[in-house]
């Protein structure tokens, strides 16, 4: 049976756009603004850009180089470098599987919100009426309509991870749609992916620009942007800032999943990946900063709105209690009136003292939110207050979808490329069948995240599934390339591909700086895991109308351990297996080949 040649990208632009589409994901929109806010606004850019130069660009370039050189998926590429390192590729695939399982739920939620935007009144803008039409549903009164819509109508969340429930049919349908679309995008491998990335990489920027313009023209947006750009440089002294900057660069670029190796394996041998690596990394960071500006404009709008409605509520409280005329108090002198009335009428004032809130714009701007809370609650709340909110809602959720889908493409490619390289599978099944089976299995397993406690499992996967293991994988990768494969040989390979040796910057980063940084990060993570005690999660309390902290039950903690161990243990296990295999066959353990070697093609 004849074999087809390895498919390749139609042009280098497709490859660059695929990398951009993969790297620019939801993390740029919902994690970076949070970090910026936590660590002193504009000042955070200093550690962020420094880490980009020290760690992000070199590691990105290295993964592209490996993929382009070996022209195989991550499993095959690492096996080719050394048979003992096959486990590294398998660990990457396992991590990619975990990510694919839970990441598409976010796309399902985005679809759910997108489809619900096609209504005359956005469903998260007002509370639903209770059964006897005398008031609003209690849970919605205690929380806010946007929170109610997310936690009750979208997730139908239970009060802890122990309480399971049925599958939410609507979200399950959206998940099915998300996987069907992913299948459509990867069914022909990169031939189909390559066409799609033109859209998924560029359209989000269009939406971000539109939102930037809309955001900056909103009332009070300037408060938010000013808040972001006034740097609080004292945060730079906090080591947590630097750790978070390094971690953010690392995860934002999507290193260690095997996606970059997979993408680069379809390149021509002489593709200039060096320049492309620098370009994609810079585009990724630039997008983070850009999204940060948009987010802070929206924050500013929302904070100003909340602040002003707080003042309105106080004004109403005062004029109702003291029977003053409406025109006596204006929003500007509410605070003056509060202190006046406290002095003149202390007894009557004390009766409403419990209801008096301290309205502060700073406090509103200081509330930092990240993750799904930012994307689905804070943003939706801001959108519902904009005029023509349906249009903005549709645009926003389409952007979230494209960002999420783009990253999913990378992760699925990381899984199907090694599977496609496996001779056993590719002889029996066609590529389309393999891709379809992968999508089907992930869909069925992902249905677990649509149950009532599914969101808690999602958080568990998000926090533990791909964090520590990736650090270890990339650390191992850079150490293997520099010290096991040999930096000199790697440089020669690059010279073969590009025509010139990498200059001193790359050599220093690969050999010294990046491994040291990664080891530091790894140690820090281990320490914080140990010091953090029992892992906890945020559970939604429907009576209080907010999240409370709960500890994971024993089986939850066991599952976390399983998640971490299952991907990390691949590396030593495969190395051991190879060792035993060679001993058993009586082959020498170390072989230095000068000409071609027939490898198992794994």
């Amino acid at each position: 049976m004849s074999k087809e040649a390895r498919p390749s990208w139609d042009s280098p632009t497709q490859f660059v756009l695929a990398c951009v589409s993969y790297a620019v994901g939801l993390g740029n929109v919902w994690r970076f603004p949070y970090l910026c806010q936590m660590h002193g606004g504009g000042g955070f850019l200093i550690p962020y850009l420094l880490m980009l130069v020290l760690e992000g660009i070199p590691l990105f370039c290295m993964e592209l180089a490996i993929g382009q050189r070996m022209r195989l998926g991550c499993v095959g590429a690492w096996s080719a470098i050394s048979p003992y390192l096959g486990g590294l590729g398998i660990a990457s695939v396992v991590t990619s599987v975990y990510l694919s399982l839970y990441y598409n739920i976010i796309n399902a939620w985005s679809f759910w919100y997108l489809f619900h935007s096609f209504q005359p009144v956005l469903p998260w803008s007002e509370c639903p009426v209770n059964s006897n039409r005398s008031g609003y549903v209690e849970e919605c009164e205690v929380a806010s309509p946007t929170q109610y819509f997310f936690y009750r109508e979208t997730l139908n969340i239970s009060s802890s991870i122990d309480e399971n429930g049925g599958v939410h049919m609507g979200v399950a349908l959206c998940l099915l749609l998300a996987w069907v679309i992913v299948f459509l995008f990867v069914v022909r491998g990169i031939k189909s992916t390559g066409k799609v990335v033109y859209f998924t990489a560029t359209f989000p920027y269009l939406v971000l620009i539109i939102y930037l313009i809309r955001g900056f023209t909103l009332h009070g947006a300037w408060n938010g942007v000013k808040y972001m750009f006034t740097p609080k440089l004292d945060q730079l002294a906090n080591p947590q800032t630097w750790i978070n900057a390094a971690t953010q660069i690392f995860f934002s670029l999507g290193l260690g999943f095997g996606s970059l190796i997979a993408f680069a394996s379809y390149n021509h041998q002489n593709n200039d990946f060096e320049k492309q690596a620098v370009a994609v990394s810079l585009i990724n960071s630039g997008t983070s900063v850009f999204a940060c500006m948009v987010t802070f404009a929206i924050y500013g709008f929302k904070a100003t709105l909340n602040y002003e409605s707080c003042l309105e509520r106080m004004k109403l409280l005062l004029i109702n209690t003291f029977d003053l005329s409406e025109s006596d108090i204006s929003i500007d002198n509410v605070t003056i009136w509060i202190s006046d009335l406290n002095h003149t009428n202390p007894e009557m004032f004390s009766s409403i003292a419990s209801k008096i809130e301290d309205c502060s714009l700073e406090a509103e701007l200081d509330t930092a939110v990240e993750g799904t809370g930012l994307a689905f609650i804070v943003y939706s709340e801001a959108i519902k207050n904009m005029p023509v909110s349906q249009l903005w809602s549709v645009l926003y959720f389409i952007m979230l979808l494209l960002l999420g889908m783009g990253s999913m493409l990378g992760n699925i490619t990381a899984i199907i490329t090694p599977l496609g390289d496996l001779k056993i599978l590719s002889r029996t099944f066609s590529n389309e069948t393999i891709n379809g089976l992968v999508c089907l299995v992930c869909l069925l397993l992902g249905l677990g995240f649509t149950t009532r406690s599914g969101s808690y499992w999602f958080t568990m996967f998000n926090d533990y599934g791909a964090t520590l293991s990736l650090l270890f994988i990339v650390l191992f990768e850079v150490v293997s390339v520099c010290y096991i494969y040999g930096l000199k040989r790697f440089e020669k390979d690059i010279e073969d591909m590009l025509g010139h040796r990498p200059n001193w910057y790359w050599r220093v980063m690969w050999a010294v700086v990046s491994p040291v940084l990664l080891i530091t990060l790894f140690i820090f993570y281990i320490i914080s895991y140990i010091q953090g005690g029992t892992p906890t999660y945020q559970a939604w309390d429907k009576d209080l109308g907010r999240s409370v902290v709960k500890e994971y039950p024993p089986y939850g903690q066991a599952f976390i351990a399983l998640l971490l161990v299952s991907s990390l243990s691949c590396i030593p296990l495969v190395a051991l297996y190879e060792l035993c295999k060679r001993k058993h066959r009586g082959q020498p353990i170390r072989q230095r080949q000068t000409v071609s070697t027939v490898s198992s093609g794994l």
Binding site: A5, G76, F115, Q119, N270, N320, S596, T597, G601
Partner: protein
């Protein structure tokens, strides 16, 4: 005598005040005109109060059709600058008897919309303390609108997938048909070319991956590989007339050296042989 006359004149209003200020069967009303209307706000004065009392009398008349309520039956007291006051409703037959609270409440609830409209206000700005408003019925849809959009999108995606799969199958079927015709000729052409060097240069860019480039230290191989790739491409495209018959007789190395030197630099711009070109078993 005069005192008795004066007492008689002022008694009803005193009684009325007492009835109102007792507060048992009355409701407090609060208006927020400036909040609701902003610049178009009107002043609250005697005429507006008259309108209120008459609207309330209208509501009571509709609610209890047997009794003919009049403006004099609506008593108002405790007016403040806020624009809030308390009102009670007396029975038309007996001016000292008050209509019970719940009856007043149901009358107001039934006619809330009319009362609001009379004053260009809403449930929030014309408040009756203690009488909750009936909220509007939520809109119920036959089919949820989101399901409609979902159906459209998933239908379009399904059509896309089906058409992609169909085109793949037809392409495969066409290729299988062509392969049967050409395979004989191509096979022997290519066998001759690779006879020289055996297995080393096989499977360059096929997925079989038999050639393990990682363990190769020979730099020349890389350039040779590139040239071979170019050569193969040209073979596939059938451009070079020398390829087939003439080169068959040469050894592989010299065949490769026949390749145009300018094409050495052309290696990266050359398209790889496309997937649908059959290259036979060895390559």
């Amino acid at each position: 005598m005069i005192t008795r006359i004066l007492l008689l004149i002022f008694l009803p209003s005193v009684i009325a005040q007492d009835l109102c200020e007792d507060g048992k069967d009355g409701y407090k009303v609060r208006l927020s005109i400036k909040t609701a209307l902003g610049d178009k706000a009107y002043e609250w004065n005697e005429s507006e109060m008259f309108l209120f009392r008459s609207s309330l009398a209208f509501a009571m008349r509709n609610h209890i059709p047997t009794e003919k309520f009049d403006i004099s039956n609506i008593l108002v007291c405790n007016e403040t600058k806020r624009v809030s006051f308390v009102f009670v409703v007396t029975s038309p037959n007996n001016s000292t008897k008050l209509i019970p609270k719940d009856q007043v409440a149901s009358a107001v609830r039934k006619h809330r919309h009319r009362l609001n409209s009379a004053f260009l206000l809403s449930d929030g700005t014309l408040e009756f303390m203690g009488i909750p408003a009936t909220l509007a019925t939520p809109i119920t849809y036959g089919t949820q609108p989101w399901l409609i959009v979902f159906g459209v999108v998933i239908g379009a995606v399904a059509v896309g997938i089906l058409s992609l799969l169909m085109s793949t199958m037809t392409r495969r079927r066409r290729r299988a048909a062509d392969k049967g015709v050409d395979s004989g000729r191509e096979e022997e052409r290519i066998e001759g070319l690779v006879k020289g060097n055996g297995t080393s240069l096989t499977c360059l860019d096929s997925k079989d991956g038999d050639y393990n480039k990682a363990f190769s230290n020979d730099e020349r191989f890389t350039k040779l590989l590139c040239r071979f790739g170019v050569f193969k491409a040209k073979l596939a495209e059938g451009q070079d007339s020398k390829t087939t018959s003439e080169l068959k007789s040469l050894s592989l190395k010299s065949q490769l050296e026949q390749v145009n030197p300018s094409e050495e630099n052309d290696c990266d711009s050359r398209a790889e042989p496309r997937a649908n070109v059959e290259t036979g078993k060895g390559i």
